[in-house]
Symmetry: C2
DNA sequence: CACCGTCCTGTTAGCGCTAACGGTAGCGCA
DNA sequence: TGCGCTACCGTTAGCGCTAACAGGACGGTG
C-alpha cells in the first residue's frame, strides 16, 4: 500500500493499463455490471488492490448527477430532541449507504432556511432532511419548491415534501392519562416556547385528554425548555398550590421544578406528581426519579431514511407522513392523588 | 425565478450566451478575478440572476481538487463532550465557509476508523477533524498516513496530524485546588472509563494536584460516565465515609452521586463536597447546584478550524497542538471541610 | 512610429468518470 | 452456409468547470 512516488492518485486508466483491459471494463467491474467474465473481473480487482485505486466521486457525480449525499438542515442542536434526531438520522443514513452533510442555522427565519437549503443543494445533495422544529418551517420550504426529495421532521407537506415525526400529541395524552388514572383532577402543564411545533402539539394533547375526562385546562404556564425556566415556574407554582399534578413538556424543565419544589417544601410525589418528556438518560436519577415520555430517535431516523430512499431510488412521490409512537416510562415522581385535607 | 421549462439547470455556457461573453469570462466573474471590466461584470451578474445560475460543485471540484468540505469523524456522540465538540466544529466550519460531512462510528477500533476515514476522503474532504475520545485513536490515524490535513481533538500527532483540546488536566487541577483551598484533605475521585483520554487526563490532574499538596490519592473509583454508575458508586462511598470531598469526572455521574448521598442521608455540601466536570446546563439546578468545570466547545471548534485553514489554505505543516483553558464554576455543592467530630 | 507593458477577453485542453453505441467471437438453429 | 442472438469488451463523446495560453486594444515611452 502507498507507493513511494504516488504524486497523483491512480485513475481508471491506470488500473485498466495494469489489468490490460479498457477503462470502461474497469468501470463495469466497479459498478458490478453483469457482463464481465470472471477471469477479467479477477484481474481488474487485483489491479485495483495493487494500485490502491479509489473512485473519484466528483467525476462520478458529475456524470451521474448523484452524490450519495443527503443534506441535513438543522437548528436548535443544543436541545435534546433536535440533537438526538440528528444522531438517529445520521446513523440510519450511514446504514443505508449515504453520507450526511450538515448545515445548522440559528432560529428559523425563512431567509436562513433558504440560504442553508441552497448551500446544501449546491453541494449536490440527493435529498434533504430538515430538523427545524419551529412554526413556519414547512411553509418556508414549500415556497422554495425544491426539485429534490425533502423529509421534514415534525410535519408533512405536499409535492416532494414528506414528513416523519414522533407523535407528540399521543405522548402528551399518555402522560396526562397516567395522571388521571392516579386520581388527579387538577393537572397543570408547563409548555415549551409556543413557536415550537412539538411544544404546541404537547399542549394540544394535554388539553384533549383533559377535555375527554371533563377536566379543566386552565393551568398552563409557558417555559423555554431550560431548567432555569422550570425553576422559576416551579417557585410560582409552589406558592399557588393549584394542581396536584403537573405535566412538564421536557425533562430539563421538570428538573427545575423539582428543585424549586424541594426548596419550597413541596414534596414530589406526595404533594404533587410530575411527568416530564424526553426520557433523557439522567432523568432516572433525578430526586425523585422522573416519570416521563420516551421518544425513539433511532427509529425516527430510520423512518426518515426509508422515506428518502423511496423517493430517491424508487421514484416515489412525496406528501406522506410517518409517525413513531412514544412510550410512557413510569417512575417515582408520580403517585396517587393526595387525600383531600 | 424558476422558468417553467427548466428541465436542465443552466450552466456557464448558458449564462455566457445571455451576457454575450465567453464562458470563461463568466467563470472569472464568479471567482472574483480582477481583470474583468465593470460593465461586463454587471452584464454577467445580471444574466446569472436572471437564469438563477448555480455553480456545479462536482465539476468545479473535479478540476480544482477542492471541495470546501471537511469531514468529521466522530464517535460517542451520545456523550456531552463529543456532541458539543461536534456542534462547535460545525459552527466554526460554517463561519469559515466550509461544509461538514459526518461519519460516526461505534467504539474506536482501528478498523472502524480507517473505514470511516476512507469514506470521508472518498467524498473528497479537504481535511478531517477527528472526535474519537479513546486511547489509540492517534496511533490508528498515524498508521493511515493520510495526505490531507487531520485535526485530532484531544491530542496532537506528527506530519499532517495536528491537535486541539481543552486542557483536561488543568480542569481537574482547578477542581482539586478549589477543594484543597476549602480545607479538604481526603479528596476522592470518580473517573470515567480508563480508555478515554479525557478521563485519564482528569485522573492525572487530580493526582498531581494532590501530590503537590502532599495528600493521598488512594480514593479512586472508576465509573462509566453514566448517572447510573455514579449512583452505584455513590452508594458505596456513602457507606465507607472515607472522603470529605469528591471530584467527579462528569456532571452526570455527579448527579448519580447526589441521589445516592441523598438516599443515604449524606448531606452535600455539609458532609461531603462535590465537584463535577462539563457544566451541562442542568447542573446549576441539581440539588444542590453543582460546582463544576466548564469547557468552551465553541472556542475549541474555532481553534480546530483555524488549524485546518492554516494547513489547507496556507500550506502550513501539521504537528501543532492548541489548548483551550477550562474554567471552574463554583456553586453550592462545595463548602469548607466539616469540623472533625 | 516602433516597441513594450497592461488590461481585458477568448480559445483550447483537460479533470476522471459513465452512457451509449459498436464490434467481435461463439453458439444455436434452420 | 447464413442468420440472429448473446456475452463480452472497446471506442467515443460528453458531464460543467478551470488553468493555461493566446491574442487584441490601448496608452505610454524612446
Amino acid at each position: 500500500m502507498g507507493n513511494s512516488n504516488d504524486r497523483r492518485l491512480p485513475r481508471l486508466e491506470d488500473v485498466a493499463a495494469r489489468a490490460k483491459v479498457s477503462h470502461q471494463t474497469v468501470s463495469r467491474v466497479i459498478n458490478n455490471h453483469p457482463n464481465v467474465s470472471a477471469s477479467t473481473r479477477a484481474r481488474v480487482e487485483a489491479a485495483i488492490a495493487e494500485l490502491g485505486y479509489r473512485r473519484n466521486t466528483a467525476a462520478r457525480s458529475l456524470v451521474t448527477r448523484r452524490t450519495q449525499n443527503i443534506g441535513v438542515l438543522a437548528s436548535e442542536l443544543g436541545q435534546y430532541g433536535p440533537a438526538n434526531t440528528l444522531l438517529g438520522v445520521q446513523q440510519a443514513a450511514r446504514e443505508a449507504g449515504y453520507f450526511v452533510s450538515i448545515a445548522s442555522i440559528k432560529g428559523a427565519g425563512a431567509e436562513a432556511i433558504s440560504d442553508a437549503v441552497r448551500h446544501l443543494t449546491d453541494q449536490g445533495a440527493d435529498g434533504l432532511i430538515v430538523i427545524v422544529p419551529h412554526d413556519g418551517t414547512l411553509q418556508a420550504l414549500e415556497r422554495l419548491n425544491l426539485d429534490v426529495p425533502v423529509i421534514v421532521v415534525g410535519g408533512a407537506g405536499e409535492g416532494r415534501l414528506s414528513g416523519a415525526m414522533v407523535d407528540q400529541k399521543l405522548g402528551a395524552r399518555l402522560a396526562v392519562a397516567h395522571l388521571i388514572s392516579l386520581g388527579h383532577r387538577r393537572i397543570g402543564h408547563v409548555s415549551g416556547p409556543p413557536d415550537w411545533i412539538d411544544a404546541q402539539a404537547r399542549v394540544d394533547g394535554w388539553r384533549e385528554e383533559l377535555a375527554e375526562a371533563g377536566l379543566s385546562d386552565d393551568l398552563l404556564v409557558e417555559g423555554d425548555w431550560s431548567a432555569g425556566s422550570g425553576y422559576r415556574i416551579g417557585q410560582q407554582l409552589a406558592e399557588r398550590q393549584g394542581a396536584t399534578a403537573v405535566f412538564v413538556s421536557n425533562d430539563q424543565m421538570a428538573l427545575g421544578l423539582l428543585r424549586a419544589f424541594g426548596e419550597k417544601g413541596v414534596r414530589v410525589p406526595e404533594d404533587v406528581s410530575l411527568v416530564g418528556f424526553d426520557d433523557q438518560p439522567e432523568s432516572a436519577y433525578f430526586m425523585p426519579p422522573l416519570t416521563t415520555v420516551r421518544q425513539d430517535f433511532e427509529e425516527l431516523g430510520k423512518r426518515c431514511m426509508d422515506l428518502m430512499r423511496a423517493q430517491i431510488e424508487d421514484g416515489a412521490t412525496g406528501g406522506t407522513l410517518v409517525v413513531v409512537d412514544p412510550e410512557l416510562v413510569v417512575r417515582a415522581s408520580t403517585a396517587a392523588r393526595p387525600a383531600l385535607p
